[in-house]
Amino acid sequence: MQRLKAFPKAKLTAVLETMSQKATVWVPSMIAGVSRFAPYRPEIDIQMGTNTAISPKEALFPSTEKIYTFSAYGIDGEFEPVDPSVGLQILFGLRSCDMQGILCLDDVFLTRGYVDDFYGSKREATTLITLGCVTPGADCFCASMGVNPVEHDGSDAQMYDLGDAYGIIARTDKGETLVKDLMATGLLSDTDKSQGPTSDFVLKVDSEGITEKLQQMFDHPLWDELSRKCLNCGTCAYLCPTCHCFDISEKKRNQHCGVKIKCWDTCMFSEYALMAGGHNPRPSKKERVRQRFMHKLRYFPERYGKLQCTGCGRCIAKCPVNLEITDVIKLAGEAKKDG
């Protein structure tokens, strides 16, 4: 069993400096008043205390991404794909909930016979370093969703918060090379401390059997009551680490040339399910709100075997009308079958 290495928290910038020689390091930081993951640069305002307000999926699945450029001068037109790969990058300070979120994205983009190389190339070039949580945020409930806040085995390296130092232990060979680089700089030293359990959660919910329960609740009146207050905005979807929907659009520079782009989309928007001819299978808020929670708690688990909500609490924190997924789970649990 490898021994846990550690480095004093004061040395954090030094650690990040060494890492950023080889790759761009995404660190949780405060950018223009909003906490999000952003590429490291010396004067960046690092936020290691709580999880970020904006999920790290931006690093692997950016909100706007070019697919191919096209141009047509006269009759002959031509197009060139855009190389989606990015340089080596490190996602530093991921919490377990976001790591679990990335696993969900992996399922969607990498498994079941089609590999989305926009996501795949970035995922391949990324080293994931998770960090254990000491105190959960006001809206966190990852424990209730089967995620261990202290550590996550899916990452390349796991860090622990040891009070005045961070412990780090590699899990995969990507993690191995990283730890070796840090060892070379002499920043690391052995330690036998370990991170205690996370303190108590404010928000708890029993998500046991939620998928089976929802399988008989498609026409339950619960969805009517829940959806009435929803604004159908995209806040929850765009903050969520596991939401992966995107739309294909284009940006035309002029009549001759432009670029095809993929950009975030959400089932909450009315135009999302609008079909040719104007029919919309999800015309009102009820269908859209039901679709969102059914997908997260039933359709995704049925297809990939894991809940698509990792309990990060970001949607709870920013929802304008506090339509909380924990309430949905609680009410669905208590509801009688099909009303």
Binding site: A72, Y73, G74, K252, N254, Q255, H256, G278, P283
Partner: protein, 660 residues
């Protein structure tokens, strides 16, 4: 993708001198949608147009762009050229590379480059053009004339003589209007009644004219060619079919009322005709003063009426009629002189207005033509006229000149001298305006032959001492104050718009200026039209004017109306606004912005996921819309679009111009 042709014109050397036309045509070959791009010396010439038509047939073109002179010049030409070749005329765009490029940029390289940019803009727009069709609107071959004064009568006669039925409507119970109150007219000194009453009778008897007196316009809906006018026919309490106009009732009626027609210098009965030559010459009962209608007593007129025409039970009647055109000739009101306390107006009985004097001079007036002072009936020796009362006076809110007062004061001075040789008239004036034919000669005669003394200066105060009126003013030519002991003072009151002119304007949907005069479409080029298609103006309602101008405008308005009615149907502007009802949320932001009031909100029923529901949407009246596009910017959701200048066309043009 549409198949587009590009034709670059040399315009002889006008363009070719400073633009490489071949190069421009060459570059245009690569623009998206262009299947043919050539240039030629004179595109607008016969061979040029034949070349276009052949290209249309040969290359099966959907639309084409001509890079030549200004579209303001030859757009109609190239549209007709397209139509002749079977192409919808609105699939053509013209790009201005002459007035706005070759003529103003000497540098041939830069000129060529700019022409390419402008042509790219033209192609970017034409690619998004859609075939447009002008719609047709039926025309109801009938005209309404509101206001039965000389202007209304003249307009009605002209339209009727053009063969179209006319309804001549007047609020009073007789036509004749303001002119009926006038005694003589300048500059010919014709007796006003003598030239007016024949016209009134002609109008009454004209087969095409339906007189509708003692009636008011309640509401006007619809639009050009199809105005639905709701008219309130006020209760007359006399059945005009039975009444023979014998006058027995008027004679016996005990109730005396100050006569509005006589400017309250004389009296009339409760059942009355305002003046002997009234048309229709049948009395009506004034409900506000008739003892029977007020408190159930009397009823003499019903008893004495030989034909039993009096009917106290009559009620107002609301009728709806459809008209193709409307001529508004509602005239003016005399300025209320009581605003001039410094002249004692309204307090001193012998300080009267021009119209009062007209009634005193009139043979059928209260004093049978003898000039008597309203206070004591004496014949005045010295008469003082004060001009510009209620005109050219910012302080009283009347900055404008009322145009006719100078002439009618000269007329009064002449007539007074004629009637009373030993009387003397003094006229205080700022300027004397004699703009008409023979006006200046008439004014000169007033001074020379009729001994009228014109004093240039303003009057500061008029007050009564004993039975004399002291008029204190100034003679600015001599530079000294003047005081005249007068027996009678006549204030040359100016013209005001009708007190309810603004309400009528709102009912009709036409605009008015800050005083209340109706606003013409263009002061110089469209004086008798309004911005609302199908509604025309005549006479003093559009602004102060004298009788000759009013009659001239009346005939002009008549021709406009007749011209409109002569068309089997109206073809509407093709490039009008159109509302996409699927997007429209019925917020009505567009409605308040439309200068032509051509947008109404209607409700549509639609099936939405199984249920029927009703929704408000905006609807543009294609007949009224002139295609200005203001509504498209007021509409946040982009539901309102302007055919021929749609949002995505203009966006495409902007993109093309910014291409770097």
């Amino acid at each position: 993708m549409k198949r587009i042709g590009v034709f670059v014109c040399h315009c002889g050397s006008n363009i070719a001198n400073t633009v490489h036309c071949e190069k421009v045509a060459q570059v245009a070959k690569d623009f998206p949608g262009v299947v043919l791009s050539t240039d030629y010396k004179y595109m607008c010439s016969e061979p040029g147009q034949v070349m276009i038509q052949e290209a249309i047939r040969e290359h099966n073109l959907d639309g084409y762009v001509v890079a030549a002179c200004s579209p303001r010049m030859h757009e109609p030409t190239f549209r007709k050229c397209a139509a002749r070749a079977g192409m919808n005329p609105y699939m053509v765009e013209q790009v201005n590379i002459r007035e706005q490029c070759s003529w103003v940029h000497a540098d041939k390289e830069k000129g060529t480059e700019k022409s390419i940019d402008l042509l790219r803009m033209g192609v970017a727009k034409v690619v998004k053009n859609e075939p447009l069709y002008s719609t047709t609107i039926p025309v109801t071959k009938r005209s309404l004339v509101i206001g039965g004064g000389i202007a209304g009568i003249q307009a009605a006669l002209d339209i009727a003589n053009a063969g179209y039925p006319v309804t001549l409507l007047d609020r009073e119970h007789t036509i004749g209007g303001r002119m009926a109150q006038v005694d003589k007219t300048f500059p010919t000194l014709d007796c006003s009644a003598c030239i007016l009453t024949p016209k009134m009778v002609e109008a009454a008897q004209h087969p095409n004219i339906e007189l509708m007196t003692y009636a008011e316009v309640e509401a006007v809906d619809g639009f050009v060619g199809n105005f639905d006018v709701t008219i309130r026919k006020k209760a007359r309490y006399v059945d005009f079919d039975k009444c023979t106009g014998c006058g027995a009732c008027t004679e016996k009626c005990p109730k005396k009322v100050p006569s509005e027609f006589e400017m309250e210098l004389g009296v009339r009965k409760a059942i009355y005709t305002p003046f002997p030559q009234a048309v229709p010459n049948k009395p009506i009962i004034d409900a506000n003063h008739c003892r029977y209608l007020l408190d159930g007593k009397c009823g003499i007129c019903k008893k004495v009426c030989p034909t039993g025409a009096v009917d106290y039970e009559q009620k107002d009647e609301l009728i709806m009629e459809r008209f193709g055109a409307i001529v508004v000739a509602t005239g003016f009101e005399q300025f209320d002189i009581s605003a001039y306390e410094e002249y004692g107006a309204g307090k001193i009985p012998d300080v009267i207005t021009g119209l009062h004097l007209e009634r005193l001079m009139n043979a059928s007036g209260p004093t049978a033509g003898k000039i008597k002072r309203p206070s004591d009936g004496k014949v005045p020796e010295k008469i003082v006229f004060v001009k510009c009362v209620g005109s050219r006076d910012e302080a009283k809110g009347r900055p404008y000149c009322s145009k006719a007062c100078c002439m009618y004061v000269a007329k009064h001075a002449t007539l007074l001298k004629e009637k009373m040789p030993n009387s003397k008239s003094y006229i205080f004036y700022m300027d004397v305006r004699t703009p008409g034919k023979n006006y200046e000669e008439f004014y000169a005669r007033t001074q020379n032959e009729y001994d009228a003394q014109y004093i240039r200066g303003r009057v500061s105060k008029i007050f009564q001492v004993g039975d004399k009126l002291i008029v204190r003013g100034e003679d600015s030519l001599l530079g000294r104050p003047v005081e005249i002991e007068a027996d009678l003072v006549v204030l040359a009151a100016g013209m005001d718009p009708r007190s309810d002119a603004k309400d009528l304007a709102r009912t009709l949907g036409i605009s008015y200026d800050q005083h209340g005069w109706f606003t013409e479409a263009h002061p110089k080029l469209q004086p008798v039209e309004t911005h609302t298609a199908g509604i025309y103006l005549a006479g003093a309602c559009q602004g102060p004017k004298d009788i000759p101008d009013s009659v001239a405008q009346a005939s002009a308005a008549a021709v406009k109306a007749a011209g409109l009615l002569s068309k089997p149907e109206l073809t509407s502007e093709a490039m009008t606004a159109l509302c996409d009802e699927a997007i429209c949320s019925g917020c009505g932001l567009c409605q308040s912005i439309c200068p032509y009031k051509s947008i109404e909100i209607k409700s549509v029923n639609e099936r939405y996921h199984g249920q029927m529901r009703q929704r408000r949407v905006s609807n543009v009246n294609q007949g009224l819309c002139q295609g200005c596009g203001a509504c498209t910017v007021a509409c946040p959701s982009g539901a309102m679009n302007l055919k021929g200048f749609t949002n995505d066309q203009i966006l495409a043009e902007v993109d093309a111009l910014c291409q770097r």
